[in-house]
């Protein structure tokens, strides 16, 4: 039975690694400027985690095969190098491995979160509410008007609570249901939660960021490829959570201008 177990372990280990080695399961094609850093980091980690996984499972299997069901008089012996050798191995191999990953990963993280948006980045506000995303563009004046929570109304389609009669900055604001962005231009996204916690996840964009009620967050990204991708909410937000999604539409600069104008006329 021990030998069968050892063989099963090896089969499970190789079988688990096979889809990864064959590149069957990979993240969808990256469309962001910062994505390659994250993808590289993921590949490095996959190599190190994969080696640790296979080595541990196979050695475990070999030892079970070799040292089970030995005859009565067989002598107990100890692993060469003993516990101290293993402790050193854990510190040197795994310790350095994970710390190296940590340092490299910290650089990747810093590339996303510790850099300010470029001065010419396009400002867009995203609002998440049960169970839809809405987006607001500042219009020709480049300024977003203030929000008035008490004025939010589904009935009048005042989704952000804008006071266009009194706030000059709000007058030309354009509200959309889709996040249209020009390709290769940095987007500065201001994230506002209307009610409870939500999240903004576009796998292709390698971005996931929660909306935090009571605290407006900001992130910035540059989409580098044309296309239309789903934005999904990944923070459990209530009954309709599974249905909360919007689209990111990456367009050429000209198409984007045209699209924005068209959206403005529909306000």
């Amino acid at each position: 039975m021990a030998k069968l177990f050892a063989v099963t372990l090896v089969i499970i280990a190789l079988g688990s690694a096979a889809p990864i080695l064959m590149h069957k399961w990979t993240p969808p094609q990256d469309i962001s400027a910062h994505g390659p850093t994250i993808d590289d980091q993921m590949s490095h980690t996959m190599v190190e985690a994969g080696i640790s996984f296979l080595a541990a499972q196979i050695i475990l299997a070999v030892f079970i095969w070799k040292f089970s069901g030995r005859r009565e008089g067989a002598r107990i012996s100890s692993f060469p190098g003993g516990a101290m050798g293993l402790v050193i191995a854990a510190f040197l191999l795994v310790g350095t491995e994970v710390l190296a990953l940590g340092v490299m990963g910290a650089r990747a993280w810093a590339a996303v979160y510790f850099t300010p948006p470029a001065p010419n980045a396009l400002l867009v506000q995203a609002q998440a509410g049960q169970f839809a995303f809405y987006f607001r563009y500042p219009g020709p004046d480049g300024k977003l008007g203030p929000l008035h929570p008490e004025m939010i109304s589904e009935a009048t389609q005042n989704l952000f609570g804008l006071d266009v009669d009194h706030d000059a900055d709000s007058k030309d604001d354009i509200v959309t249901a889709e996040l249209g962005v020009p390709v290769n231009r940095e987007i500065h996204l201001l994230m506002h939660a209307k009610d409870v916690g939500h999240s903004f996840y576009v796998p292709e964009l390698r971005i996931q960021q929660d909306f935090l009620p009571g605290l407006d967050l900001s992130l910035h990204f540059t989409a580098t490829k044309l296309g239309r991708h789903e934005i999904v909410c990944t923070q459990l937000c209530g009954l309709g959570h599974y249905n909360m999604k919007a689209y990111l539409n990456v367009m050429s600069a000209e198409d984007f201008e045209g699209w924005l104008k068209q959206q403005a006329t529909q306000q």
Partner: protein
């Protein structure tokens, strides 16, 4: 140490049925009660996971009779996407609190910790009884949430505010059900705090003569460390849940900020912080992972040395590593919050301890594997589950390399990769520890032996099944499959549906295999082969007394301990081992020479 306090000496055997089996102060009865509660909870939790898996693979499937459980959640027996979220919330809460905390720690710990240190009972037997009954009340309160008007809670086992805090206005399932959830968990915390205090006092004060700290078996060490973790963790979750209840019913705003608009209504709350809930919850939540896994690590070590017929390469190093894990478990909670909106600088601060905690875990794993070398491994159902634990612990552990790095977490956070990771490393691995413990200690607890053949069959189906279920979760996560979604139709997740069907079938089969375990448990309890005092030729004190043990464990005597806990692989009059309380002089097997 060996002079028992007066209170313990007066601990006379109970006379009435009620005092003996229901409101008993005997740690062994309380241990079995915890085990029984965990057994009920695990089968309910598993049934919920079956319903979830059925819904994910076949969203329109009609499940006969389900409409009786919830006419709105499952009209005509078809689970609605909304009800799926409730099933998920209840599954997570039941499994984490009432199974993974109850069985390996409170269940086995209560039964065997006093015996392994040579005590008659816990330091505070009445507190001990109270801790179980409080936990049972918590369980009943949670279960009642299934039957309240607007349905069970659906905010997940993490119950993030403000969704969990603003009340029924946030939608059905956020009403009474959510309040019951918070009250249930608060009550549960009280039970765990009482239990933890009891475990710590018992370990420190009631050890018998000769039972130094370093002579305690690794299972006792693990329970002791777990109780230290639990004392701090549940002491934070308890007030957090009370504040949540206040936010819900008394109009306070601990976790709810100003100007939230729900259904076009501005909420009256103001000034609270949703991040505060996340910090309090995960300050408990991450140590909770170790509350679930550390006892299993101790149990597995205890069983492994017995099956290998040799001590581990180093007893001390394992103990120090377990202590480091316990200590570090308090420095990593923020890795659940990398994308929550907390400062990106703190993300790095939480990332490094998370990576560092892999070092003590790796040391323990290497010592387990290294100790197999040159051993005389005996294959039993218990040892198979212990070896399976190592394999699962490694598989679940290596995916932690990814999630510990905030840059990769940006992509993998809230995907099935995370679900696969924690199910393997704290769910299934811990359950394997429980199974190993059950097959190993059943003869001692009930005086009868479980059927080995059925036990091995149970192992094979569960081991292969667990990999078939949870390994594909990682692939789905890599493909960007988000968790907590009930339906994968008409969107980018649809191509992944065949994988979900495979997982669901594997889950149904693996779940059904647990009925073999249940049958074996019940059958062996009444018809199993009578067990001898020490069927596994083991060394620790629980095997020096009759099976099942008398009410005061050692028949009014205090055992004296002469040896380190795992004196296997030596020449003695009993064979290749010597028991801890045997006065026989032997050449002690010490830690590896390179460490002394």
């Amino acid at each position: 140490m060996h002079d028992m306090p007066q209170a313990i000496k007066e601990h006379a055997p109970a006379q009435t049925f009620i005092r003996k089996y229901v409101f008993s102060v005997d740690h062994k009865v309380i241990g079995k009660q915890y085990f029984g509660l965990a057994l009920v909870a695990v089968f309910i939790g598993m049934a919920l996971s079956w319903l979830m898996r059925l819904h994910l693979a076949w969203p329109n499937l009609h499940i006969p009779g389900l409409q009786w459980l919830s006419s709105s959640g499952a009209p005509n027996g078809v689970i609605t996407p909304e009800y799926y979220l409730s099933l998920m919330t209840m599954h997570g809460t039941l499994m984490i609190f009432f199974v993974l905390t109850n069985a390996p720690f409170a269940g086995f710990g209560n039964y065997f910790l006093p015996i392994q240190i040579g005590a008659e009972d816990m330091a505070f037997p009445r507190f001990n009884m109270m801790s179980f009954w409080v936990t049972l009340v918590a369980f009943c309160v949670l279960m009642s949430a299934f039957f309240v008007g607007d349905g069970p809670p659906l905010a997940g086992w993490t119950s993030y505010a403000p969704l969990s805090a603003v009340g029924g206005s946030a939608g059905p399932g956020e009403g009474t059900g959510q309040t019951l959830w918070a009250i249930s968990i608060a009550i549960f915390c009280i039970g765990q705090l009482l239990g933890s205090l009891n475990f710590i006092s018992t370990t420190l004060d009631l050890r018998t003569r000769g039972m130094t700290l370093m002579r305690m078996p690794l299972s006792t060490w693990a329970w002791f460390i777990t109780s230290c973790i639990g004392l701090l963790a549940f002491a934070v979750l308890l007030p957090a849940c009370l504040l949540l209840v206040l936010d819900r019913i008394a109009g306070t705003s601990f976790f709810v900020p100003s100007n939230l608009v729900i259904s076009d209504q501005v909420q009256t709350h103001s000034g609270g912080s949703p991040l505060l809930w996340q910090h309090l919850f995960w300050f408990f939540g991450h140590p909770e992972v170790y509350i679930a896994i550390v006892p299993a690590m101790g149990i597995v070590s205890h069983i492994l040395v017995n099956s290998m017929r040799r001590p581990l390469l180093s007893h001390r190093v394992v103990i120090y590593s377990l202590i480091s894990i316990g200590f570090l478990s308090y420095m990593v909670w923020g890795h659940h919050m990398f994308v929550s909106g907390m400062s990106p600088f703190s993300a790095l601060m939480f990332s490094f301890p998370t990576l560092i905690i892999t070092i003590p875990s790796t040391i323990i794993t290497l010592i387990w594997i290294g100790s197999l070398y040159g051993s005389k491994l005996r294959i039993t159902a218990a040892s198979l589950f212990a070896l399976g634990f190592i394999s699962l612990f490694v598989s679940g552990g290596v995916s932690g390399f990814f999630l510990a790095q905030p840059s990769i977490d940006i992509y993998l956070h809230a995907t099935y990769f995370v679900v696969g990771h924690f199910h393997l490393v704290m769910g299934v691995a811990s359950i394997f520890g429980i199974f190993a413990g059950t097959y190993f200690w059943f003869p001692k607890m009930f005086g009868r032996t479980m059927n080995e053949g059925l036990g091995k069959l149970h192992f094979w189906l569960t081991f292969v099944g667990a990999y078939c279920i949870f390994m594909p979760f990682h692939y789905l996560g890599l493909a960007g499959n988000v968790r907590r979604y009930s339906a994968f139709v008409e969107d980018y997740l649809q191509p992944l549906l065949p994988v979900h069907k495979f997982i669901s079938i594997a889950a149904l089969i693996t779940g059904a295999a647990q009925l073999i375990f249940l049958y074996n448990l019940v059958y062996s309890r009444f018809r199993g082969k009578p067990a001898t005092e020490n069927p596994w030729e083991a060394t620790s004190l629980e095997w020096s007394i009759p099976s099942p043990p008398p009410f005061d464990n050692f028949g009014g005597k205090h055992p004296v301990v002469y040896h380190d806990p795992y004196q296997y692989g030596i020449a003695s009059s009993t064979g290749d081992y010597v028991m801890q309380n045997s006065p026989e002089q032997i050449q002690t097997v010490r830690d590896d020479k390179s460490l002394t």
